[in-house]
């Protein structure tokens, strides 16, 4: 028996799905990050070795993506908090648009700074 599963994806649904996915992705990142910096206690050589490995262009590229994900989760999270506080509940679409603009602007700015100043350095 087929169950009715169709429903149009509104902006709010999209924001929510992305929030969940970015959140789950960030948990993985956090665990990996912890594993990476735990090399600090293994010793200086070990840590600097890992850092060198992570300085390859591939990781620089991934890092820019990572910043996007973090910032989405951060700004959308702030949007949700605002709504929970009752701010702009009646203008949620406008608030969503606002959030997207801020998110993209911040992402672009940080990425540009990273690329310009340091040629993109790893902090994994």
């Amino acid at each position: 028996m087929r169950v009715i599963k169709h429903y149009r994806i509104h902006l709010g649904t999209l924001a929510w799905i992305l929030h969940r996915l970015s959140g789950l992705a960030l948990i993985f990142y956090m665990l990996i990050h912890l594993w990476v910096i735990h090399h600090l206690i293994v010793g200086e050589k070990s840590f600097d070795g890992v850092m060198e490995f992570l300085s390859t262009p591939l990781f620089k590229f991934l890092e820019i993506g990572l910043i996007g994900v973090i910032m989405y989760h951060l700004f959308n999270g702030l949007r949700v908090i605002l709504i929970d506080m009752g701010v702009m509940v009646e203008k949620q679409k406008m608030l969503f648009g606002f959030t997207v603009v801020v998110w993209l602007a911040a992402w672009l700015w940080v990425s540009t700074v990273m690329v310009m100043r340091f040629g993109g350095l790893p902090f994994i």
Binding site: I4, R8, G12, I83, D84, V89, Q92
Partner: protein
């Protein structure tokens, strides 16, 4: 006049083996026709077995809520021409058990509502031969809350409800806040406390589907954020 194809979800409980399937009907629609007018025309002229709920056809009884082109709405309130489509898909409300064709079981709707004590609770007796006083400003707080017609569109559009069938649901939250916000209600906590539940308020992820679906343009999410604030304040 235009010929519109309706793709309608059919389900006959006496023929479970066949299950759900989409059936196509052609209807001649003119300007001013609503989806309900077209469904009636199909039922009355083409196929009497097509089953859906309907009553007032003026958007106040809440019978004919269904999923029209992927969005919940009242069939009697949607102008066919306004959709600007040759083919219109009509399905029963998502998330509820389908009884037949476009008719769903409203049990979860009632169950959710019953949880929030959906009636005014007073402790002091009302004045005799007089109404309780309530200023126009106090009364204005109920605007956007008491107009709910219990059509079920909001809860059926909510991903939290799709995931958890015991979720109390936005319609019940709106109802709860209608009493919490009423200056005459003397026990707001009795409406609030049932919301602090595993299947309660905290499952709302501010997705806004309920707001988009509400045919009466009410805003359950706003009520929910007020309720969340009230509950958290209550804990400190």
């Amino acid at each position: 006049m235009a010929t519109i194809t309706f793709k309608i979800n059919r389900f006959n409980p006496d023929d479970e083996r066949r299950g759900h399937f989409m059936q196509k009907y052609q209807v001649e629609a003119k300007k001013g026709d609503t989806i309900l007018d077209c469904l009636n025309r199909i039922k009355w002229k083409q196929d009497g077995s097509l089953t859906f709920r309907r009553s007032c056809r003026s958007g106040i009884c809440g019978s004919c809520a269904m999923t029209i082109d992927g969005v919940n709405n009242l069939a009697c309130e949607v102008q066919v021409m306004a959709l600007k489509r040759d083919t219109i898909t009509v399905e029963p409300l998502r998330g509820y058990t389908v009884i037949k064709d476009l008719v769903v079981s409203l049990d979860p709707l009632v169950k959710g509502m019953l949880k929030v004590k959906p009636y005014m609770i007073t402790k002091t007796p009302p004045p005799t031969d007089q109404e309780r006083l309530q200023s126009p400003e106090e009364r204005e707080k109920l605007d956007g809350l008491y107009e709910c017609i219990l059509c079920g569109s909001c809860t059926s559009s909510c991903p939290s409800f799709w995931a958890d069938k015991e979720y109390i649901g936005p319609h019940a939250f709106l109802k709860a806040y209608r009493f919490v916000a009423d200056t005459r209600d003397e026990a707001p906590r009795e409406h609030l406390e049932p919301l602090d539940d595993k299947h309660g308020l905290w499952r709302c992820h501010t997705i806004f589907n309920c707001v988009e679906a509400c045919p009466k343009d009410l805003n359950p999410t706003k009520a929910i954020s007020e309720l969340k604030k009230a509950l958290v304040n209550d804990k400190f």
